[in-house]
Point group: C2
Chain length 345, copies 2
């Protein structure tokens, strides 16, 4: 386990997209974040106190989280130097970058010398099974999308917060590096070997008998030609009872692929329901989550209303407008799960 | 490259399924196989001359192929001892097992001492790109299936042989360890990291301008809850012009999953066409391949005729009855590919 509280790293970043992991932690685990570390040339802030490494340690920080992404997910010299300084100051270091901390001999040596831990959250655990598709107890909701990076993690986390606020039992299940750092556990699905995609999801969302919900973070899209395999295995492993469709209304083509237009919402929903039915024939859609951060408030509200009418599902921006309408639909659709002795397909 | 000719290893095997890689080589690369190596307690044969290691070297063998599978894909002590003896006798060693030759220190030491090569065909190359979904020149046929292990590799290889016999240009593209050993190259798709599934297929079947066909070996099934992610990425990466649907008519449930019945042929075909259309909207089905090895000849012929009527596609057992009817359909459907300057979606 990664020890909190955290000092969030921004370094020399000047790209808002590049700090999304640090920002995710600041938004969804504010109580665990004591401050942010940035150099003078960093124009971004998470709204936390700017701290030196020593100030952070004095404030109780246990781990420096390298919550940034740069080209290729590399550990640059700057990053390594800062991580070494953090270890010397008394902090563990956690990273979601593609390049592993443990593959940098200098970092490993300094961590050993100071008795500090290095956490690579993109390392899948070694005991992931092949998926078995067996029906398991408990309720699961999966966020799916028209594209990558359209708000599936935010929607899942907002649902966790909203459901808990109503006294429901609900647990976010992370499948990406930011989510794993927020939740403290999960599977970095993009780093799992192909044959184990669905098994990895069965592993992180096992049978549960407490009437609680697993809220599983979706990845990719069935309509993204680079990553649809991941999304397919995720759907089958999740065995979802409920789907929430996530979409970015200002996106005009698939992420990274200008030659692929975005699919329609209805088409996306139908395709996801069809694939999901293989492992849960009773799956149903319970809502649509739009990322309206680039729209004016009135336009955002209008779009949500229009989408509700078009799809017959509650539609909201989970982060800006809350998730009440989707939770209403969930509680209306799903009575507390029956205690069935045998759940067989 | 793995040097031929090969000595095919059977060892102590007594399970026909366990020697399928050695058998595949004997069937599809007979001219490259000088003999078989088996211990006295092995009741199986490939119909090749039984040879000692020394006899095989004298007959020109360059590589011992460990074309067997045992529980867990492990390198047992027997196997390692035989491989060391083979190296000492002057042979390279190739393996498709999950456990890697290069991870056995004794094997590595002996191979270095004798200057012999160890080939682990389940090692993906390190430079696999993320798939880009860009339309590329050339014709591609993909074998898809109702389940795993229903004859996709055999169908693909029989089509290669049959198309070449008619003077067509056609190249088998391997995606599994047996296929890779037969073809001499390919990608072990089950060992690729999830994010790179479709990119791996784009890499092994690049654009071609010679009017030839890539015949891509399918894997898994869209209806197999353990592996459908792999099949989905394969479909998208293959960008197939043509699909051949493979099926085992005596299979009564999905491989390894007694709680999942097999999907229908029509349902399977429609699902595969729908997924394939994302990267090639013009994809079409050109035939059905049945593995009729467990049926009487008359029953097999009747089943093929019935399947033809039901699906409106040529249906055959590629290995037992040939692939003429499917090639006829391919040549009827596809004129030599036009030399288009730009192929953009």
């Amino acid at each position: 386990m990664i020890r909190s509280p955290y000092l969030l790293y921004l370094g020399h970043s000047n790209d808002e997209v590049g700090i999304k992991t640090s920002r995710g932690l600041a938004v969804f685990r504010p109580d665990d974040c004591v401050g942010e570390f940035r150099h003078d040339d960093c124009a971004l802030t998470l709204g936390l106190s700017r701290m030196t490494l020593e100030q952070a340690v004095a404030a109780g920080a246990k781990t420096l989280v390298l919550g940034i992404a740069n080209a290729g997910g590399k550990l640059g010299d700057d990053l390594v130097a800062d991580a070494i300084a953090a270890i010397a100051a008394g902090l563990d270091v956690a990273s979601g970058l593609h390049n592993r901390l443990r593959d940098d001999p200098a970092l490993v040596a300094v961590a050993e010398e100071h008795g500090r831990a290095l956490h690579d959250v993109r390392d899948p655990r070694p005991d992931i099974p092949i998926g078995n598709g067996k029906r398991r107890a408990g309720r699961r909701l999966l966020t799916v999308g028209t594209d990558c990076s359209v708000g599936k993690m935010y929607a899942s986390l907002c649902l966790e917060r909203g459901m808990r606020a109503r006294g429901l039992t609900a647990d976010f299940r992370a499948t990406g590096q930011t989510g794993i750092l927020i939740a403290g556990s999960g599977v970095p699905l993009d780093a799992v070997i192909a044959d184990f995609i669905s098994g990895a999801i069965e592993q992180i969302s096992p049978a549960r008998e407490d009437d609680g919900w697993d809220l599983i973070e979706g990845q990719g899209s069935l309509f993204h030609p680079s990553f649809a395999g991941v999304s397919t295995g995720l759907l089958h492993g999740a065995q979802p009872d409920a789907l929430v469709l996530c979409h970015d209304p200002v996106r005009d083509h698939m992420r990274g692929l200008p030659h692929y237009p975005l699919p329609g919402l209805k088409e996306t929903l139908e395709a996801n329901l069809a694939v999901a039915r293989l492992t849960n024939p009773d799956v149903r859609a319970v809502g649509v989550a739009l990322n309206t951060s680039k729209l004016a408030p009135e336009a955002a509200k209008r779009l949500c209303a229009e989408t509700e009418d078009a799809l017959g599902l509650p539609c909201t921006d989970p982060y800006a407008m809350g998730v009440d309408s989707i939770i209403d639909r969930i509680t209306a659709c799903f009575a507390p799960s029956p205690r069935v002795a045998t759940l067989s397909r």
